[in-house]
């Protein structure tokens, strides 16, 4: 546009998308308002007790480029249910969506069930995984990543993991550290930097 008047914003096919901006440090009372007594849209509980599937807990810490914990990040998860279905009707207690604010120590966790395999490129099955968005002060565009689970034999042939250089794949794989607990740290920058995707 070269005219001085601002063009109408809803004018047709040449619309550009609305740019992203940082979530900033002060999102909590709107997005993760538990500490403020507000109504929570989503929490770290993605699957309620009793939902079909193997219960798992995923926990980790978000670190910055200095290795310092990021205490003002928000993590969102999107995943299929244990049968590999998104939006499965009748699967009460399973939202597929989780949202958590990191603690002052940078920690987050989610309570869910192990996702089933979902179809991927060329109709091949992907290994079970969870989709992740990372938001924080200093992050201008959400960082997209994935969580795979260390005891899944399908990881070896997963079409998305195969796109990642072999020496970085481990950053996408949550390690089992207990009967039901997997550890997944997120490193925003530097040594051991988590693989982030352009989606």
């Amino acid at each position: 546009m070269t005219t001085e008047q601002q063009a109408p914003q809803a004018s047709g096919a040449d619309l550009g998308i609305t740019p992203s901006q940082t979530i900033g440090p002060f999102f909590a009372y709107a997005l993760t308002p538990r500490a403020y007594g507000g109504p929570e849209l989503a929490t770290e509980q993605i699957a309620a007790e009793g939902v079909a599937g193997e219960r798992i807990r995923i926990e980790g810490v978000v670190y910055d480029g200095d290795g310092a914990p990021v205490g003002d990040a928000m993590i969102e998860i999107w995943q299929a249910d244990a049968q590999g279905r998104f939006h499965a009707a009748g699967n009460a207690g399973f939202t597929g969506f989780g949202r958590a604010e990191t603690t002052a120590e940078g920690a987050f966790h989610f309570e869910t069930v192990r996702p089933g395999a979902v179809q991927g490129p060329d109709g091949r099955l992907q290994a079970p995984h969870l989709s992740v968005s990372v938001f924080a002060r200093g992050i201008l565009v959400r960082l997209a990543t994935r969580i795979y689970l260390s005891d899944e034999p399908g990881n070896a042939g997963d079409p998305v993991l195969m796109l990642v250089p072999a020496d970085r794949r481990a950053t996408l794989i949550a390690q089992r550290v207990g009967d039901t607990v997997f550890r997944f740290d997120i490193r925003l920058q530097g040594e051991g930097e988590t693989v982030f995707f352009e989606a």
Binding site: S20, R137, G138, L188, V195
Partner: protein
């Protein structure tokens, strides 16, 4: 029908490595992003209905006993996709500072008064035509420590889902004519001037209500076009 998400549309976004905004220095990935194919994991996403809302969630001036201080405003607009199609029934969450430029957050140390009648958080769903409407208070500018004499332009944070995890976006709405735009590294992190303009709401007399509140219009464009036939991928 599945949706097509052209990667070119991402050029409107800022780069996470935007060093004038100091917080990016240790938080922006240093390695290149890896292009992710769009599988069901990306082209689906959470859906929220009216159960996610409570009465009054979209009127931030009615959440406490009394009237908040400051200038009452109406913010409305439409949520559209890149071809101008409305995005109906999508959740919008907003948050903002009060009229004095202070957030209700334990870590906000700006010495401006808190307003007992203003929390600054709201939610709305778009209707069939993608329209939404909030009533709120015009937020104040506030200082931050990014650089000497740094002040954020007045803004309202917007969080939207759209039809998939790929259309998920968090952004900020600004007000027309703000003298702080050219000094603000967060606003300026968007390198495309046209894209920056899209974050500036417009004063709108049609939204304005007589004897009551000024109206601002803010349309939001999410990624995603309707699928074209697989056999004719270049056909419109």
């Amino acid at each position: 029908m599945s949706l097509i998400y052209p990667p070119g549309s991402l050029k409107s976004h800022p780069l996470n490595a935007s060093p004038d905004y100091g917080s990016t220095l240790k938080r922006a990935p240093s390695k290149p992003l890896i292009l992710l194919p769009h599988t069901l994991s990306e082209t689906t996403g959470p859906v929220f209905g009216h159960a996610a809302l409570a009465a009054g969630d979209s009127d931030l001036t009615r959440q406490h006993q009394g009237e908040p201080l400051g200038e009452r405003i109406i913010v409305s607009g439409r949520v559209l996709d890149e071809d101008g199609r409305p995005v109906p029934h999508t959740l919008i969450e907003i948050w903002q500072a009060n009229a004095g430029g202070r957030y209700v957050h334990v870590r906000d140390q700006h010495p401006a008064p808190l307003d007992p009648n203003f929390t600054g958080a709201g939610r709305a769903l778009t209707d069939e035509q993608g329209r939404y409407r909030f009533v709120t208070i015009k937020p104040g500018a506030y200082p931050w420590r990014n650089h000497h004499n740094a002040w954020r332009p007045a803004h309202i944070h917007f969080s939207l889902f759209g039809p998939s995890f790929l259309s998920r976006v968090i952004t900020q709405m600004y007000f027309p004519g703000d003298p702080l735009f050219k000094y603000d590294p967060i606003f300026q992190s968007i390198t495309d001037a046209n894209a920056r303009e899209r974050l500036i709401s417009r004063f709108d007399l049609a939204t304005t209500e007589p004897e009551w509140a000024l109206g601002y219009r803010f349309d939001i464009v999410l990624r995603g076009r309707s699928a074209t036939p697989v056999e004719e991928p270049h056909d419109h």
